[in-house]
Symmetry: none
Subunit: 166 residues, 4 copies
DNA sequence: TATGAATGAGTATTCATTCAT
DNA sequence: TATGAATGAATACTCATTCAT
């Protein structure tokens, strides 16, 4: 991992206690940023559809601009150390709760139909992550370029939320 | 990996050239099975909604019953060798095409609104994979158990397909 | 450590779970041997003095003939992993108890004066180990060659046991 | 090691050329102190037994009060750099010679029986070091606390010196 | 055909040492 | 003189792969 950062081994361990500590930090910062983003979004009072689209766009921006980071996080997410797993869970739940708030707003004004905002939030996050995973893994020959994927997914998510099937 | 399959190391290398070859085989078989499943589904002429739900259910059955395999594949999916990457891409495209056929059927009868069935198919597969990833990674403390995730995702996918945003 | 044994890294880990496991094994075998030696000695009924001398001689034989092993054990003894520490303690206590039995025999026939055989046994073992440490560390230019050290220490130990100071 | 001394790394290397130099200095000072202690002891003309007991007590005081230092020195003693080994040897020989002088005094007045005072001195030092090693390594669950070890060893050493085996 | 002992490149981590400020 | 960020050799351990039986 030191090589990946173009830093000498010792330098890494001068700043971090362990690999786990590094990941915790990176992860913590990204998730704090994302949380702030979600809270701002809600506060600014854009239309619900715009909010949903912004969230998807933000998610894909991470992949577009910081591919290595995204890859790293996904890999650790699959095989976390025990300490890290707890952290990941907690962070994810916080993000989901922020998204759930937005969904509750939508329910309150009758735009969204759902009985379980938290679960729907998790499903949406999951869907975004999944599509990201696809895009990350696809490499050069990807069917859908990142931007198109974001656009398509936004529509998909928004529609899924708005109108319950009969 | 040999231990996981309860076979001796030597035996594995007697039948397979390398780890990559093993993954290729496993993956190929699973994807062939899934493709068959999708084609059967379409041929049997169930309602579109039932088809979508069956697809999601089938996806989650894989996770529920062969968790180790699913984890392994996901990990390799993140960091494939060049040869494997091409294969994964090809397989995925085939599956997506099958799903796209079902979506086209829906468009033909006016139940589904979409301009790009292939892209939507990829988004759906991506969403399913992402949610699976969530469930796989979550371990014990998972918010949504596998079954609930499948049910929720089905509804979500179906709704997303059916009703165009205003 | 693999290099020290002239074996490839992988081979070592094929046979042992960890460094700790290796040390546990080596240590266990040596201590079992020593324990057997002490029990045989007592059973054979040689004079007490002969027994004490034999013990010292046996101790130095280890150093003379298996210097690397002795060094390794001493190093780990100074900085054991938690699991190993417990083991070392237990093994040492067993050896000390065997020696204490011999000392109790001496007390019974009036040849040895002591109120606390176990503590004396530990002191004797400690003295032997300490002198070994000296010899091990001394390298080439050692003042006392191994054999002379053994002889001198035997006399010292035996005298120390026999006659209480006024 | 710098952390242990509550000094900055740079400062340490400002005053010392290397780790070896630090150890040489610490060791040199401790040994000079001990040598002074032994010479004083002899000059003060206490009884021989009192001298022996004082030596053992002094040795254990080092361990009791500067455990970290003692541990460090022992570790280096097992694996010294070539330069350090020579130094250690020299220092030890000097200390042993001081102790040998005391033993010679005892021989002169008929209280001690020995043909080789230098070798006996080395054996005594060795025994003290060995028992220290025990105490250092034992950690919490030690059989003999430091004070008891010192007392017991004193008696042992003194008796060993005084009375020749039959 | 089947086995598992042997291998060594790769990874996380420690620690003595250097050097620009 | 004093600092601590940067370095890299060394160590414990993992894992895909080879090969003699």
């Amino acid at each position: 991992m030191a090589r990946a950062a173009r830093v000498s081994i010792g330098t890494v361990y001068h700043y971090f206690r362990s690999k786990e500590a590094i990941l915790e930090r990176i992860l913590g910062e990204e998730m704090a940023r994302r949380r702030g983003f979600l809270e701002d979004l809600r506060r600014h009072g854009a239309s619900l559809e715009a909010q949903i689209r912004a969230i998807a766009e933000d998610h894909f921006a991470l992949i577009r601009e910081r591919k290595h980071l995204a890859r790293l996080l996904l890999r650790e997410w699959l095989d976390p150390t025990p300490g890290l797993r707890v952290n990941l869970q907690k962070i994810h739940d916080e993000i989901a709760e922020c998204l759930a708030q937005i969904i509750r707003d939508g329910i309150a004004v009758g735009q969204i139909q759902s009985r379980d905002p938290v679960l729907v939030a998790h499903a949406m996050l999951g869907a975004m992550e999944a599509v990201s995973l696809r895009v990350l893994a696809a490499g050069k020959g990807a069917l859908c370029p990142v931007d198109k994927a974001a656009e398509e997914l936004s529509t998909f998510l928004w529609t899924g939320l708005c109108q319950p099937s009969s």
